[in-house]
């Protein structure tokens, strides 16, 4: 009701500015302010790095500009404007968003780059069950190669895909190390029936040393590359066992409802 006056003003504007539309009141066109921009594209060679990594942003729509933050905060009109590729030398959550004088600002795009000195290289990893025949990358060594998979999970060499209630990964470290965190790199791709798991538990032998419960999948959350941090009891370990509990029933709103979701991982890191 409080918009009534505004309606009159707007319709007035519409009719006075454009006689063509006056004749066709029924077919008013979509306005620019009601047209949402897509988010900018963020590109980097590898989400894992040891020294530094270059991140480029891309969006080709005349008069639009990209703004970004590096501290994980939401991007606002006052945030920095993107001009050229950024060189990042520490673990960073980058968020970026498109602004335009006429179109509606985009949602945030985000990317997390991880500086890692994870010493899993050379470790032996056994997985049970084995990954699906179609998504087995180059075997379990893919999990420690510091190569981040891209969104195209099906034709890369990075992703291991599982469709099972639970997946157990036994890691035999090449040497005993002091560790306080395990990071599992995964993907959300609801269109491809790939979900973030329900729960990840880390064991040393039979002793539980860390656990995270992940939030229920949300309908709006369609695609994302995700890192799951699992803090573990700080100690010296020579082996770890990671137990992934998949979403065993895809929620009601999804076409795959009731079936076991896919779990995809491309890298395991320790710190």
């Amino acid at each position: 009701m409080r918009y009534t006056q505004l309606v009159i003003v707007l319709l007035g504007l519409l009719f006075s500015c454009n006689t063509k539309e006056k004749e066709e009141e029924e077919s008013a066109y979509l306005t620019a302010v009601n047209t949402l921009m897509a988010a900018p594209l963020l590109e980097c060679e590898n989400l894992f790095f040891t020294d530094s990594v270059k991140v480029a942003m891309k969006f080709s729509l005349p008069d639009s500009n990209i703004k970004y933050t590096l501290d994980g905060s939401d991007v606002r009109a006052e945030s920095k404007t993107y001009e050229k590729p950024l060189l990042l030398d520490k673990t960073t959550l980058l968020k970026a968003k498109n602004f335009h004088p006429e179109f509606q600002s985009s949602n945030d795009a985000s990317i997390k780059v991880i500086k890692t000195n994870s010493k899993l290289a050379g470790s032996k990893i056994d997985v049970n069950p084995n990954p699906n025949e179609r998504y087995k990358a180059t075997g379990t060594s893919s999990l420690t190669d510091h190569i981040k998979g891209t969104s195209s999970f099906a034709n890369g060499n990075a992703w291991l895909g599982f469709q099972s209630d639970s997946i157990r990964m036994e890691i035999k470290l090449s040497q005993a190390q002091t560790l306080s965190k395990v990071i599992v790199s995964t993907m959300v791709n609801h269109g491809a029936w790939i979900f973030v798991p329900k729960k990840i538990t880390v064991f040393s032998g039979t002793r539980e040393i860390g656990k995270v419960d992940l939030p229920k999948p949300s309908k709006e959350d369609t695609f994302r590359l995700e890192f799951i941090d699992i803090p573990i009891k700080k100690d010296i370990y020579d082996s770890l066992s990671i137990m992934v509990s998949s979403v065993n029933e895809i929620p009601e709103w999804h076409q795959g409802k009731g079936t076991v979701a896919w779990f995809f991982t491309d890298e395991i890191l320790v710190e």
Binding site: R2, Y3, L6, V7, V9, L10, L13, L14, E26, S27, A28, Y29, L30, T31, A32, V33, N34, T35, L36, M37, A38, L41, F59, S60, L61, P62, S64, E102, F103, Q104, T150, S151, S152, H190, G191, T222, F223
Partner: protein, 344 residues
Amino acid sequence: MERRGFIKKTAIASAGMLASSSAMGMFAPYKDAIIGHGDFRYKIDMSWGTLNAENYPVNDCHEMVQDSKGRILLLTNHTKNNVIVYDKSGKLIEVWGTDYPGAHGLTLKVENGEDFLYISDNVRHEVIKTTIDGKVVQIFPYPAASGKYAKKEIYIPTETAIHDNGDVYVADGYGEQYIMHYNAKGELLHTFGGRGDADHLFNNAHGICIDSRNSSNPTLLITARQQNKLKRFTLSGEYLESYDLPGAYICRPVIHKENVYLATIWSNDGSEGTGFISILDKNNKLVSAPGGCTPDYANGELNKMYQTLKIFTHPHDVCVDEDENLYVAQWNSGKTYPIKLVRI
């Protein structure tokens, strides 16, 4: 009608929010969005053809054609009304069709002065030819004679193209990726294509049309949707050349005058909800991408295409009228009716 009302209300509500969040908002220009590039730019009519979904429901809106009377026909896989006939303003004229659960491809061909429709039904696993008001005149069943199909179920036709001599080409876009070539009597003459990465093979041979822009040498244009390519073949099925459209998951080629229009269902890496429209010039170069990024060729290669404006979800077909306005039917897009793009 309800959707029109809804869109207006949404527009007003957001304008209201702008006004309250900024004093300037009240006087900000209330401009129409304009999309596309170069000569091919459009205003967007989101409410075109919207009907009461209880009376005239749609599921996927797969394809659209314009008939000789200038009417716009929409094919949907809702069996309450598989074909919805509109005038160009989006007013309902009539509906028909309850027997096409997999209604997917719609091609119109004028034969001896009469309009005929060819419906590719991917649930019935066959192509049905009808009169313009829906009387069945011929069925092209699954091509057992090809020797490529052990059973009917693996033949999942998506599109047809009809040559002036009456020959019918059927693309098995969701099946084994062969192209079937029949004569007008429905006798299978020849089969070509098939699944694979080689030039003459397909990954999702989704759409097909006859390119008569060179009237002395008509050829076939066939989309390889997952490969982001448009491929040209002779009418007897020999591969000629491909046009690369990186990042553009193109559904079917539609030729109007010297241009090729292609609904692009996904873009970039193929994520959900990233569609736009692709328009090629007479040299088969992308010149406009309404809803997509600016087309740019460097050393003859097109930049990888992606969506820039969230107008379309999953565009599945484009119909071009005589004023070069576009009607866009969408797959899996919340059971919405087509969107009209009015050329400016």
